[in-house]
Structure formats: structure tokens, C-alpha cells
Symmetry: C2
Subunit: 188 residues, 2 copies
DNA sequence: GCCCGCATGTAAGTGGTTACATGATTTG
DNA sequence: CAAATCATGTAACCACTTACATGCGGGC
């Protein structure tokens, strides 16, 4: 049920509609938790019916109406309770690693292009994160000093940056290994 | 459907029963893909009915009978086809990061113990991975030279090691940030 | 005239978790 | 005598994805 809590955090940072939340889940909070609009609309309705959120229907001209959600008392309490509970450290779900091990039973070189493609995606993400860091936290336009919320957002972003750097270095290692194996005869 | 492919890889590495696969998903292949026994039994039956696997029922004395599964032609073909397809680089699912951002709306210091606990789990995992690396790949008892399958298992393990090291360093950063915020007055 | 962005939703299906159930053998 | 290991399974539920559906307004 972490989607529920991710929504609470996002709406506490700033109230918004389901559509806007879906946008945020494509960047910002979405860097470490994803959700599609279908799922978001469903969970928003449930949370509103449970009294965690309040809705305000907003008529707009030259745009469809929207429902702006915001967190109310019980929602804030639910988040606070969750913060006091402990979660179990998650185990990885790394599909590419499964593929790499599977390559032992086929030609390892078929994976080279795939790994190169993934590497490029991670390079792009890293550049994106670094640009965001400069814009919001370390650049001349950033507020000084940062408040607690900004410090916490920054440390999470640093985690994303460290993850992308680590992943790129590892994919280089994978590529070197695949290329090395490609020069020797097949097997199995 | 990556569980299906993880099972194919694991059974190609060595045939086994549902129970044995469940054990393997607690270590080895389970380092980057998890599954419970219920799920494994369900998928094994489906894969067998689809002709990807063959079963051999094995009577054992002083132990329950077991069904040993192995990959047959169409299963190997399915794996090969999957290796040729491209998968989209997965996005993170990092519940702890959601909590950290959520801490801005509560007392950040409540998270210190939780983060310390996670840090310890990652330290233990790292030690476990390093022991496995020494045993299977870099120690004196390791085969030399390694074959392609072992090289690929090793590069995946190196990825796990890099991930744990990066995570521990990041959690240190998180702890330093939380402790720093704890010394200043609350907010929001 | 077509596609994109804004905005919300239904329906069907897959993947995955949790709880419950059974029963023999081995280990402390 | 209790607990853990081996071994397989059912049932109910929850989380998540994919496909489909609608409709207005603005830009190329």
C-alpha cells in the first residue's frame, strides 16, 4: 500500500488533481515510485471515501473540470502512523540481471545492444537528475538555506544520482564481460 | 512474466522441484528476483501444461515425493526468444525514499532507527555477497578459468555488490541529513 | 484536418501476497 | 515433546497493467 502513502506525501507537498498526480509520478516522486493514471484515480476515490482526502471540484474555462484533492487530518495521521511502522528492506527486481544469467544458454552477444540501450537510458536519467539538483538545490537560483523538506528531497535525489552512476559503471562492466565472451567459442 | 523466465534460467542451470526452486529464490537467483512457493508451484504447473517443462515424479524414502522439473525444447526456445526481445529499463520502487520525503511532514528523527535497521540489512547482504564471490569466483577453491555461465553469474553478483555498497553509502548520507535536521526546530 | 494536452473514467486480465492446510521425518 | 525441514497445494485477496472510451480546445 505504498502508493497510498506516496500520494499522501505528494498531496501534502502540494494539492492537486488525479491528472496532476499522474504527471508528478512521471517525474519527481515518480523517480522512486511509479503509478499510472488509472491506478491513481482508483486509489484517490478510495482514499476520499475513507476520509483521508478532501475533494474540491474546480470548473475551468477552456479546459475540462478537475477535482483537486488535498490531505485532511486523518490522512496526515495515517502518514504519520506509517512513518512510525517499520518496513522490510525490499529485495531487488532486476529483470536485466535475469537476462544476463540467461545469456549463458544462448549467444551472449545478443545482449550487447540491449545493454547498450539500457546504459543510455541511465545516462539520460543521470543528466536529468543532475540538472534538477542544480536547479533546485545547488545552483545560484536555489533557496539558501534549504528548509527541512528541501533537504529531504535533496538527499533522496542524491540517492537517485548515486544509483544511476552505480548502474552505468556496472553496465560498463557487463558490456566488457559480454564482449570478452563473444571472442571465445560458444558453449552449453 | 519475468518469473517464468527466471524459472527457465534456474532450471537450465540445474533441474529441480518447486520446493528447491523456492530455496533458490531465497538466495542466488533470488538476489534479483523474488517469488514465494505458492507462486512458483502455480507457474510451474502452467509452464508444464504449456509444454515448456517436463516433470518427473520422484519417490523418496523418508521424505515426501517430489516433482523434478526440467526445461524441454519449447522452454529453451521461449527463453531464447525473450533474450532477443527488448525490455524497458525498470523504474525504481523505493519505499524508503517515499518515507524520507514524508518525514518532512512529521518529526524526521523518527526515521533514524528505521534507516539504521535498513543499513544493517544491506551490510549483511554485502558480506553475504562478498563471501559468495570469494567461494565461487575469486577464491583459491574457484575453478580457473571460469566458463561463460560462471563469468555471467559473476558479473551479476558484482552488480549486487556495487548496489549494496552504493546503498550503504547513501544511507549514511541519509542518516547524516536526518541527524542534522534533528538539531534544528520542527517545521510545517 | 490531425494530433497533442487536459481531464476522467471502465473493464478485463495478470502478477503477487497472505493465510490456511496437510503430513512425514529429523533435530534439539 | 516441540520445532524445524521437506514437500505440495487451495483460496481469497490485493496491486498493478493494458486496452478501451469520451470529449473539449489549441497549435501546426
Amino acid at each position: 500500500m505504498a502508493l497510498e502513502h506516496a500520494i499522501l506525501v505528494s498531496l501534502l507537498e502540494k494539492p492537486g488533481s488525479g491528472y496532476e498526480l499522474a504527471r508528478r509520478f512521471e517525474r519527481s516522486i515518480g523517480y522512486f515510485w511509479t503509478a499510472t493514471h488509472q491506478q491513481i484515480y482508483r486509489v484517490l476515490r478510495r482514499m476520499e471515501s475513507e476520509g483521508l482526502l478532501a475533494v474540491r471540484e474546480l470548473s475551468q474555462q477552456s479546459r475540462p473540470d478537475k477535482k483537486v484533492y488535498s490531505v485532511v487530518g486523518p490522512g496526515r495521521a495515517a502518514l504519520s502512523q506509517w512513518l512510525h511502522e517499520s518496513i522490510q528492506p525490499e529485495s531487488m527486481r532486476h529483470e536485466l540481471a535475469v537476462k544476463i544469467r540467461g545469456a549463458a544458454f544462448d549467444d551472449p552477444s545478443v545482449l550487447i545492444r540491449e545493454v547498450e540501450r539500457h546504459r543510455q537510458v541511465h545516462i539520460d536519467r543521470l543528466a536529468h537528475y543532475l540538472a534538477g539538483e542544480l536547479r533546485d538545490f545547488t545552483g545560484p537560483a536555489a533557496p539558501t538555506p534549504l528548509d527541512a523538506g528541501q533537504e529531504l528531497q535533496h538527499v533522496v535525489l542524491r540517492g537517485g544520482i548515486a544509483y544511476e552512476r552505480m548502474t552505468i559503471a556496472w553496465l560498463d562492466d557487463v558490456l566488457a564481460t559480454l564482449r570478452r565472451l563473444g571472442t571465445s567459442p560458444p558453449h552449453v
